[in-house]
Subunit: 588 residues, 2 copies
């Protein structure tokens, strides 16, 4: 804060000079006292100067009433602090930071803690720099966590690699709050050198270390918590939550497009421990944002589920500010940033107006500022597939006795199953309309290595053409599935041409596409466009290509390469058995 | 933390290597969940590795039980986190930092936030450096706040002056958590330049700014809070507390030797706002510490007063850690420092054992480590009274119609009263046994200016001899009161010879003394010695010199120069009318 800004703030608070804005007569949630009272909110520039009785004559009886250059009548509405998402991957919304701001702010969100794990896997620190620059074009306050596990596993080629030595400079950036979700919990719990170096670095710089520890319990969880990891968004059960809270970790209640933990985790909330819960979405697609909202939707669900509404508001505001050590956020109180969300009431949380830093930025669902776009050229052209050709998709099976990655619909797990499939004279897999088994391939796309690995997927349902995508967790190589090598190759080449994204091929032709020029992960389009296009892609995949009705064609595919989720996954280096943590063969 | 230390901590937590210490079977207070459960506390070096069920076989059923190189049976006791005093002036205990550690630690205190306001007023940053070095000789973790208001007022000579420019370097010291109590609330609320410079500096360096705002309310309190001041220990009423909490400030519940706010302030505590309260002592003399304790005594009082005992423990532990932004303190949980206090129960809070950083440092009231003393020579020899002589104590009154500073027993306020006194032919005051009015003088003692100011004090009761002290808030010039100029002068010269402290003169001779070679503010003796000597001084003052029974002879005198507390006070520059903020005359 500049001195003149502080001086003016104090002068406005003291009533010596008029406020820039007074929001009059709202029922204001006081997150510190746990009360809701009719108040005037007095604002100077970006900051809240005072929250005072609307009774006109000021608190000291004889004082003249406060005046504002602008005054807003908010009676009938309830004012809550700007909402905070404690853990989100912007990339998972397939839109850029500017656009995520346009989507989230009308839902009352003023701040998010984004982990640019996906783009950094592809582009390294260049990806972080792009995200950081782009985030300056939105009123949403986007803070970043430095991705801690790039690559996520050593069993694949990623676009980049971040060791502790590479983090020394970026960990100090003011926008960086700390290390992002430490997915390598095995490394932490075993005290592996590389993990320790990163943790020591973050501690030395006074930065936070976020967690990711699905299923961890007992001594392993002790080991993880003892390293100083401050939060976890991977609790699946109320007991998971309780165990983490007892160990001093914050629990991030996640409600995303794919993962729905809120209803289970709210069972763990008590008046005694509620201050240790914060809210997050992790991954939230435009369709979910447009239809259900963002953290406002968490508040509706929590309140509907019986959590006291002020407690719910706290989880999405002051608790998050405390959890991240920010003293100027999370509350409507003097000296805090004027991030204020007006809702109709504390049950429906229908957002009427949103101020961020004292500026009205959204009204009745519309984001008001003009959205300027950041130059994406530094993160374009990310598809480097070397000498890829249809030939490389050929399998050379010795026989038709194979293991398949079998999809578990509605989740990201696979099962290992066994089957008999047709092969041609060269040992290549031949798709058979009689059984729901198709070829799947991962093509390295970062370093022109020409690496291609193939396997067989069961339960996806494709009966025609091919699908290819450059979103494939966490290294984001190209993943493709199809009934013929030539259509799979066509999809891959089309993907390269459009700089990544999603391509659907039918009858040898591209029949649907979503270009993602931003690192092959994000479109440069609006959330609404993404939503419409994704619906079309889903429809086409189901109706034209025959993908099974209970399979989400895009999301399912993009997790088939994530070699930390059991049982079988495919990376550009081969078929991986996650249970044994080793590569295996297609032939059983 | 070093890497090897982190590695070992994780290994111990994971159960791969034996713990250094296991405290077995205590009822452990979980400040996060608000529960109390029988647990084993597993410690690696300075750190807590795990808090686990004592059921032996470990959490995962088949795991072998954890082993410790040392094991302590704590069954029957309750373990709470090490206690934290959020605001204290060590100097007010008249002992050095090493000694305050020896006194406080056996009461379960592991950390204090000390504002070395007094010694910095006398010695400047040299005083801070001494305190900092001395604090390294005790196991008590002493963090410092950089005194924000030196001198406290412009109406006197202090030993030093700290403007924002002088703070640029020390504010960055790792031991410095922020700016100490911002007593110049007038400066803050009026937006005075010097105050703003200090606030901007602290904000820029990411440091806290502590408050001191007695009686501030309404718009003035808004102005004060809007500047970002995070806490206040000067709440006199429950309403004061509520007003500050609503404005986002922490309330420090003070219970010191002189100020007793706890019983009133606990009325403001609710389950909704209790996380915003922390505990402090501000000023606590050895007599109080030895007879009543420290923060443990706050806990007894809170619990006796009906506050839930876990809530009380939180105020003295995790709330303080959160308030100061320390993520490794305030809880018995993995990754936190092993600061653990064993008490008999959550009602009496009788402290049995205390570990700080995993080391047993106190047992049944005894501080166990050897106390090494820091060299005090850099802060010795602080009495510089220039050409002081008895002659300078002479008053030159034009007549006997005078105003008196009249003591209000039991407090630090004075009233202005008027009287008729005897004067000699030169206009000097002549003590009259018929009325309780004595001469009082303040002698500048920092810069050899030779400044002496005199006035008349009523209600102190002295009937014989003189008393002189080098503790006189906040500039700590010499203050003396007596019935004759020669005895007052004798007391002053004796004070110089003993390098400050307290001197009592009767019949022209020194009859009692407490030398305070450390900046004229602290003894180099034990707390027990200070307690005994102070009792003797009180007895001698009352019995030999005739000081009124309802007047605390030392404490009363040392506040007679504090020119911010109404109505009349005396500085080395003259008699000051605090109500008008201007100097006045002894003659009415």
């Amino acid at each position: 804060m500049e001195k003149a800004e502080l001086k003016k703030l104090i002068d406005v608070a003291a009533g010596r000079v008029p406020a820039d804005l007074i929001i009059r007569g709202a029922d204001v949630v006081d997150v510190f006292s746990g009360t809701v009272r009719k108040k005037d909110i007095v604002i100077s520039g970006k900051w809240i100067a005072a929250v005072c009785d609307p009774s006109s004559a000021g608190e000291n009886g004889g004082d003249p009433p406060r005046a504002g250059r602008e005054e807003v009548d908010a009676s009938g509405y309830t004012a809550i602090p700007g909402l905070i998402d404690s853990h989100i991957h912007i990339e998972s919304s397939y839109v850029t930071p500017e656009e995520i701001g346009r989507l989230l702010v009308p839902h009352g969100t003023s701040m998010i803690f984004a982990d640019p794990h996906e783009i950094v896997n592809v582009c390294g620190l260049r990806g972080l720099d792009y995200m950081n620059r782009a985030s300056k074009q939105t009123k949403l306050d986007i803070r970043f966590m430095l991705p801690s596990c790039v690559p996520a596993t050593p069993y694949e080629h990623s676009g980049s690699r971040l060791d502790a030595k590479d983090m020394v400079v970026p960990i100090r950036y003011p926008e960086i709050q700390g290390l992002g979700e430490f997915m390598d919990y095995t490394g932490v719990c075993s005290g592996a050198d590389g993990a320790l170096d990163k943790i020591i670095l973050a501690k030395r710089e006074g930065k936070l270390i976020d967690g990711h520890a699905p299923g961890l319990a007992g001594k392993e969880l002790d080991a993880y918590a003892s390293a100083g990891i401050f939060a976890d968004h991977e609790c699946a059960t109320a007991d998971d939550a309780r165990e983490r809270i007892s160990r001093g970790m914050y629990v991030m209640i996640r409600e995303g497009s794919a993962c729905h933990d809120l209803k289970e985790l709210m069972k763990a909330v008590t008046p005694e421990n509620s201050s240790r819960f914060v809210l997050c979405s992790d991954d939230r697609q435009p369709a979910t944002i447009l239809s259900e909202g963002h953290i406002d939707s968490h508040l509706r669900m929590l309140t509907a589920g019986g959590i006291d509404s002020v407690t719910a508001v706290r989880m999405g505001t002051i608790n998050a500010a405390q959890c991240f050590g920010l003293s100027d956020r999370g509350a409507i109180a003097p000296g805090r940033r004027a991030d204020i969300t007006l809702v109709n009431n504390l049950k429906d949380f229908q957002v009427h107006r949103v101020w961020i830093g004292g500026e009205l930025v959204a009204e009745d669902g519309r984001y008001l500022p003009e959205t300027r776009r950041t130059d994406i050229s530094p993160v374009r052209g990310s598809i480097h597939i070397g000498d890829f050709s249809e030939e490389k998709l050929k399998m050379h099976l010795k026989n038709g006795h194979v293991r398949t990655m079998t999809i578990c619909p509605g989740g990201v797990l696979t099962k290992e199953e066994f089957a008999e499939v047709k092969i041609d004279e060269e040992g290549n897999f031949v798709w058979d309309p009689q059984q729901d088994i198709a070829k799947i391939a991962v093509i390295e796309r970062h370093h022109d290595t020409g690496n291609v690995a193939t396997a067989l997927i069961k339960g996806y349902g494709i009966r025609k053409g091919a699908i290819a995508m450059s979103i494939a967790h966490d290294s984001h190589n190209i993943i493709t599935v199809g009934v013929s090598d030539d259509e799979m190759a066509a999809a891959v080449f089309a993907l390269k041409e459009q700089e990544g994204g999603i391509v659907l091929v039918g009858n040898g032709q591209v029949i649907e596409r979503m270009p993602m020029p931003v690192a092959g992960l994000m479109t440069d389009q609006s959330g609404e466009w993404v939503d419409r296009r994704l619906r079309r892609i889903h429809r086409t995949a189901h109706e034209e290509l025959g993908v099974n009705g209970d399979v989400e064609p895009v999301m399912t595919l993009c997790f088939m390469s994530l070699a930390v989720i059991p049982e079988l996954k495919l990376t550009d280096e081969g078929l991986f058995d996650v249970r044994k943590f080793e590569f295996t063969t297609v032939e059983r």
